[in-house]
């Protein structure tokens, strides 16, 4: 039986690991590589790295604090893929086929694309043709605008004319392999997933959907898994509050009879 996945999301801003609230407030959590060691082997099923930097230059050259932790996303992927043998998705700032190729060659298994396909939907089919649907995750940020769930672009800042279900279907038809569905309203709110949104999008497409945004307690994972047919649950902030967080979340789900991998078989070598 296929298991449903639990996926920590690591948000990187200017080379730092951060926490996010409402897509606009950030708190620095430190070094992204040590975070992986902490998170990855404790029963995570995959990892998603999202680079939410706004600046074009943020690597060591721009490092006025001279701090050794500031790394560029490509170095981070390279290091992470040597440390941990599980699927890694990398998103953020992907604007060309070349951007995808570079990330895959550094050890990413999949890429998450968001803004570029909204500007040019052909980008999905071009990328699918070149690299295969299996490595293409279309990331969809949704926010309630005038009472209506609306697909957002530009890092959750600007509304588009798309409704989430329609855009998810377009992404699927263009060759997306998975949908990464993120609720901007719930980001950092700790009030649980947007179950209505997740349910609608899951029902609109045949490809797997990963739900993200709103997890504040382990039971929120249980809610979205039991009340929707979502394929995977992802979260960022919640996994940084406690030690062994992914393991504990997995254990909670396993003990509550959800179809997840048994975390006891997975702890560190």
């Amino acid at each position: 039986m296929k298991k449903r996945r639990l996926i920590p999301v690591l948000l990187l801003k200017d080379g730092w690991l951060v926490q996010s609230k409402g897509f606009n407030r950030y708190q620095n959590l430190g070094n992204p590589i040590t975070a992986v060691k902490r998170l990855s082997e404790w029963a995570s099923d995959e990892l998603i790295y999202l680079d939410i930097s706004r600046r074009d230059e943020y690597d060591l050259r721009r490092d006025d604090l001279n701090h050794p932790n500031r790394r560029n996303i490509l170095n981070i992927i390279e290091d992470v893929s040597k440390e941990t043998f599980m699927p890694i998705t990398v998103g953020g700032r992907i604007r060309s086929l070349k951007d995808i190729e570079v990330r895959l060659s550094k050890g990413a298994d999949k890429v998450a694309i968001n803004t570029k396909p909204l500007e040019d939907p052909r980008f999905i089919s071009e990328a699918a043709k070149e690299f295969g649907s299996q490595c293409l995750v279309v990331s969809i940020d949704v926010k309630t605008v005038n009472g209506r769930p609306t697909v957002m672009t530009d890092g959750g800042r600007s509304p588009t004319e798309h409704a989430p279900t329609g855009w998810a279907r377009t992404a699927q038809e263009s060759g997306a392999g998975e949908i990464f569905l993120n609720s901007v309203d719930r980001d950092g709110a700790k009030t649980g997933y947007d179950l209505i949104l997740v349910d609608e999008v899951v029902k609109a497409v045949k490809i797997p959907v990963i739900a993200c945004g709103g997890a504040g307690e382990w039971k929120h994972f249980g809610e979205v898994l039991s009340q929707t047919a979502v394929d995977a649950v992802a979260a960022a902030n919640i996994f940084h509050y406690v030690d062994q967080s992914v393991y504990l979340a997995k254990k909670y789900l396993f003990e509550h009879k959800f179809d997840v991998r048994n975390p006891d078989l997975l702890v560190l070598r």
Partner: protein
Amino acid sequence: MMTKARVCILDYGCGNVKSVYNLVSTLDAEVTVSNAPQAIADASHLVLPGVGAFGRSMDRIRELLPMADLQSAVQRQGKPFLGICVGMQVLAVTGREFGEHPGLGWVPGEVRQLETAGMPLPHVGWNNIRIESPTPLLEGLGESPDFYFVHSFALRTDAPGLIAATAEYGQRFPAVIAQGNLYGVQFHPEKSQRPGIRLFKNFLALS
């Protein structure tokens, strides 16, 4: 004393070579990524990674791999060979993904789209396998270990002796095949954490 395994990872431009390399590098083995006849001749173990579509992969394999040398190493010298995902699928006679494409034909069967009875495709995620016939490749992994899968197509074969393990996703399909020194896995052991590491260790212990 056993000599160290010398692993050659074949690179035809379609596989996630780096991920396989990263994992095997942590084990007690010498690893090279190469298509050179000499590298294949020097190797004790061969790995054919794979990601993507059947037809394109076969085109690249024909274009970039020295087929006569590979065939000699695998079929005459009997070096342990592991095909991963599409690298397993291309061992079949035919692939039916975006048209019909001849495969290497080293194992009987053809590759067809999974019939999932409405479940999402591709089949992405962790699934347990069921061991159908014991093989040293799966030693120490228990009755039904979980591995990471990403695929829409799978092997169909009526050669039952070929299938070492199956998995279920809408339909039951071959997850591990074994035919003499020839092994194939539909999942990605290089992305399967501990069970994956164990599988590679088992593979390197084959001689």
